[in-house]
């Protein structure tokens, strides 16, 4: 019984915050309430930044030259490569390991 009373006394005693603690918490609280940006604004800022980064990424990315060619130009390129770099035409060149087929 005595032991239980002692345990209860300890658990019920709690911590006594000093006056400086109280003042410090008040100062932190005041700073949070006056300077802290609203959460919605933070989210908007984060999403906006991501969109701007994505936009910059898309703008900076340069298309590969082959992407600019149409199907007929690609066909002509294949024939040109075959004629200049192989004797057997495009089909014969496909078996070569370093043959590049533009699509």
């Amino acid at each position: 019984m005595k032991y239980k009373n002692k345990l209860n006394t300890v658990l019920e005693s709690g911590f006594q915050p000093s006056t400086t603690t109280k003042e410090r918490v008040r100062m932190v609280l005041e700073r949070k309430l006056t300077c802290h940006a609203p959460r919605r604004f933070q989210w908007a800022l984060a999403v906006g930044s991501l969109l701007v980064l994505l936009g910059i990424g898309l703008y900076v990315r340069q298309p590969h030259p082959v992407e600019l060619l149409g199907p007929s130009a690609l066909h002509a390129t294949n024939i040109y490569v075959a004629q200049n770099f192989g004797e057997c035409g495009p089909r014969g060149l496909e078996s070569q390991p370093d043959y590049i087929h533009f699509q």
């Binding site: 345990l7 300890v10 658990l11 709690g14 911590f15 915050p17 603690t21 008040r26």
Partner: protein, 165 residues
């Protein structure tokens, strides 16, 4: 009741709620400020007919503490400080350590053997003197579960600290 009055009336109790949950005084101060910030933002939505002010305060304190712990865990992943150093007992404020009474030392020793949830329940039951039904409503646990967890926590304290107390 004005917010200023609420702050003055409940500061010690809210601080103790935070202090039971945190490892250090500094962390408890941060958490107390976070709890009062949320209380301030929700202050106008409090309805006295719905629930007593204590239940409202500690329900908010509970949710803020859960968020706080989650953020702390995320921060620790990116921290360069080793985990063991972060969890050192509360010697981060030497002046405060000197002020501490022997009863506070014993309480701190008792809390160190409990989990965060058990500390919360011990605080709400023994320090805040709330009923098990209120504690269940605050924590989202069932009343019987609160009883079982409290019983286990006290048993653990008796087993671990039997020789010290």
């Amino acid at each position: 009741m004005q917010f200023e009055e609420l702050y003055e009336t409940f500061f010690v109790r809210v601080y103790n709620y935070a202090r039971y949950r945190c490892e250090t005084d500094t962390e408890a101060e941060d958490l107390t400020a976070c709890i009062f910030e949320k209380l301030y933002r929700k202050f106008n939505s409090y309805n006295a007919d719905k629930s007593p002010i204590e239940a409202w305060i500690f329900t908010i304190a509970h949710s803020v503490t859960v968020d706080f712990s989650r953020r702390k865990k995320i921060r620790s992943w990116f921290s360069f400080t080793p985990q063991q150093e972060e969890n050192l007992p509360m010697d981060d404020n030497p002046a405060r350590t000197l002020e501490r009474t022997s009863l506070e030392e014993e309480l701190q020793a008792a809390l160190e053997v409990l989990t965060s949830q058990e500390r919360e329940l011990i605080n709400l039951h023994y320090y805040q003197r709330l009923k098990q039904t209120d504690i269940a409503a605050i924590t989202g646990l069932s009343q019987s579960n609160v009883g079982v967890l409290l019983h286990r926590a006290v048993k653990k304290l008796k087993f671990k600290l039997g020789n010290e107390l």
